[in-house]
Symmetry: D2
Subunit: 98 residues, 4 copies
C-alpha cells in the first residue's frame, strides 16, 4: 500500500528553536530511498506504508536520543487504491484548474 504523508515533528522541552531536530529527520530521509520534500510546515513523504512509518518511528527515536524529553508529531496520511498518484501529481492536478 502506497502512502503520501505530511510529517511535522515538534520536540517539546528543548527550547524555542526546533530546526536542528527537523534537520535530523531530513538526514534520515536522505539516507532512505523515499521521495520527500521539506516545506514550511512539515515534510511530505511518499513510499510504501511500512517504509514510511519505519522512518517516522526512527525520527522519534533519534530526536529523543538528541535529548528531547517529549515529542508531538502531526501526520496527514493519504492512501488510494483507485489510481497511482505521486506528490507532484497532487500539485499539478490543482494547478491545471487555476
Amino acid at each position: 500500500m502506497k502512502v503520501i504523508v505530511d510529517l511535522c515533528v515538534v520536540p517539546i522541552g528543548v527550547g524555542v528553536s526546533l530546526s536542528t531536530y527537523v534537520a535530523a529527520c531530513e538526514k534520515l530521509l536522505a539516507q532512505s530511498t523515499l521521495v520527500y520534500n521539506l516545506h514550511a510546515n512539515g515534510t511530505n513523504i511518499e513510499g510504501e506504508w511500512d517504509a514510511v512509518f519505519a522512518i517516522i518511528k526512527q525520527c522519534h527515536e533519534v530526536i529523543h536520543q538528541m535529548g528531547a524529553p517529549r515529542i508531538f508529531t502531526t501526520l496527514k496520511v493519504g492512501t488510494r487504491i483507485d489510481k497511482t498518484q505521486h506528490m507532484g501529481d497532487k500539485i499539478s492536478s490543482v494547478q491545471e484548474k487555476l
Copy 2:
C-alpha cells in the same frame, strides 16, 4: 516506546456519511489489547508504537476493502521519555489547574 495517538480517518469517495467506516476501526480496536477512547473528532489510542501503528495500517486496509477508493487520515502522535503518562493523566493534569 509508548505512544498516545489521536486517529481520525476520513474515507473519500463514499458519500457524506462516514460512521460505518469509523465503526470498522473501532471494531479492530475492540479486538486488540490497546486502550482507546472515541471522541467527536477522532479516537485516542494508547500503547506500544508498533502495536498502535499496526492497527492504523489495518484501519486503512479494512476501509479500502469496504470500498473506499481513497482515505485521508490525520494523526497526532505523542511520545515522551521523561515519565510514564496515560491518556487519563493528560486530562487530569489539565483539570487540576482549572
Copy 3:
C-alpha cells in the same frame, strides 16, 4: 455557519509540561457560551464559526501573555450544510454501528 473543531495547542519554549497553558484555554471556553469537551489530545468545540475562531485567537493571545514565545496549534475543522449535527451525534452515529 456552524463548526465542530478539535483544538490542540502546544506552547513551545516553556519546558515539558503544558497543562497550565491548556487550562488557560479551558478557562476561556468556560467563560464562553460554546459547547466544548476536553479529551486526551485536544478539546472539541462546537458553535458558530466566528465565535469558535475568536476563542482560538484568544487562546494564542493568552498563552503568549503567559510567557510562551511560540505556539504550535493543530485544528480539525468540520462544517456541513446537509444537516445539523452536534458533537454527541458524531459519537452516537458510530456507536450505533458497533
Copy 4:
C-alpha cells in the same frame, strides 16, 4: 499577531477528486495579498491572523457553494512573539543544518 498556517481542505460527499475545490481556495488566495505556497498535502499561508482566518472561512463558504455538503479541514497554526519569521526562514533554518 502574525501567523503561519498549513491549510488542507477535504470536501466530503463530492466523489474522489478534490482538486477543483482546492483550486477554488487557491483562487481566493491569489486575489488576496497573503503570501502562500501550495504543496502536496496542503497550502502554507502567511499573514496577519484575521486576514488568514478570513480567507479560511471564505474557502469553506465557497466550497459549500460549489456543492460540497460537508468539509473536513486540518490546520497547523504557528505564532511566535520572540522574532519575526517568514515561511522561507523556516525552510532555510533547517537546510542550514543539513
